[in-house]
Subunit: 204 residues, 2 copies
């Protein structure tokens, strides 16, 4: 393949495409959440699609009803790209979370800089906004990022929770920041967690 010849004629598109083809690897980064109809775990690309559509459809439940939904969706589409280098870190695994931030910053620097400089800056700013949880859009995006695995676990009868011996107290503790983005979705999720305990597939 002589992509160099193509790149000579279309330098900017070729650079954008190099980034877009590099991030194809997100389809191979496996998370701990189950797929409902298959006996496998979901990957980051699937998660990002599902989350983006949740943002569109659940917008009315954001704490700020005028939340910038395009900004939230953009953040969601790129929020896990750093895991191509840094790997997925299970939210309940305290030890694995040590050094996570440093690994992810290095990943952001390598991967985002495959883009033309102006877009590298733009995507880095989006990722920083998501990580810092200071804007309504990033708080909503983060709330959904917590809600999504909770729902897949609940709807699958606790498959991901059971595999790791997770208890309801951990679920409540590790996901309560959801309230910053959507109090009502947190109430809804809490109701599901209590039901999971009552039904016996999540230990108290």
């Amino acid at each position: 393949m002589s992509f160099d010849d193509v790149a000579e004629k279309f330098p900017r598109i070729a650079q954008q495409m190099s980034f877009l083809m590099e991030i194809d690897k997100l389809k191979s980064i496996i998370r701990q959440s189950p797929i409902l109809g298959e006996n496998r775990k979901e990957n980051d690309a699937e998660h990002s699609w599902h989350l983006a559509l949740m943002a569109v459809l659940l917008k009315e439940h954001a704490i700020d009803e005028d939340v910038d939904i395009l900004q939230a969706v953009k953040m969601i589409l790129i929020h896990d790209i750093v895991e191509i280098d840094a790997g997925d870190t299970f939210v309940y695994d305290i030890a694995a979370n040590v050094g996570k931030r440093e690994r992810e910053v290095l990943a952001a620097e390598r991967i985002f800089n495959l883009l033309p400089a102006d877009q590298a800056v733009e995507i880095r700013a989006l990722w920083d906004e998501f990580e810092e949880r200071q804007t309504p859009a990033s708080r909503f995006a983060n709330a959904l990022d917590r809600l999504h695995p909770m729902m897949l676990n609940y709807m699958s009868g606790g498959r991901g929770w059971a595999a790791h011996g997770v208890k309801s107290s951990q679920v409540f503790d590790r996901n309560k920041t959801m309230r910053e983005g959507s109090p009502i979705l947190w109430d809804f999720a809490s109701c599901c967690v209590r039901d999971a305990v009552k039904e016996g597939f999540l230990p108290e």
Copy 2:
């Protein structure tokens, strides 16, 4: 699981969530495009994520530079959901494309109507807009939907093309509508296809 109890307390969220959990099945609808780093084909959820991010990053190349990118991204996120019932139809398979429209309309009616009525109407309108290719946003979204498998095929040395004996004349013929959404991305893609022929992994 007594989701009915949860649904009684949060009827609207529960209805939205029933739709969101139903479309988890999109992760199991397999396309003909290869994943670059793995010996498997991509699924519709992965494709939809990749395409949505392409829309964000390649917006400047749309025929209408002021294209409504949120509208394009929303269309992209939902454009393949009908394939949960109707299946993926390979673009080069003429026979399989017979009856596709009817199958997909039935699917849209079943799946979108899992949502609350106001949102079912909204998502159906988005899907119709995508299918009709009459607005700048839908033309751009459709152009990317053609570009994406072309790039995965090109970057993988023609894996998907080879598996189905596709020739370059078919690639040009079946994808030329890309021009309606982005002439420059069509020129770029054509350059890649000509390179694939020159390199010997796509028959003339």
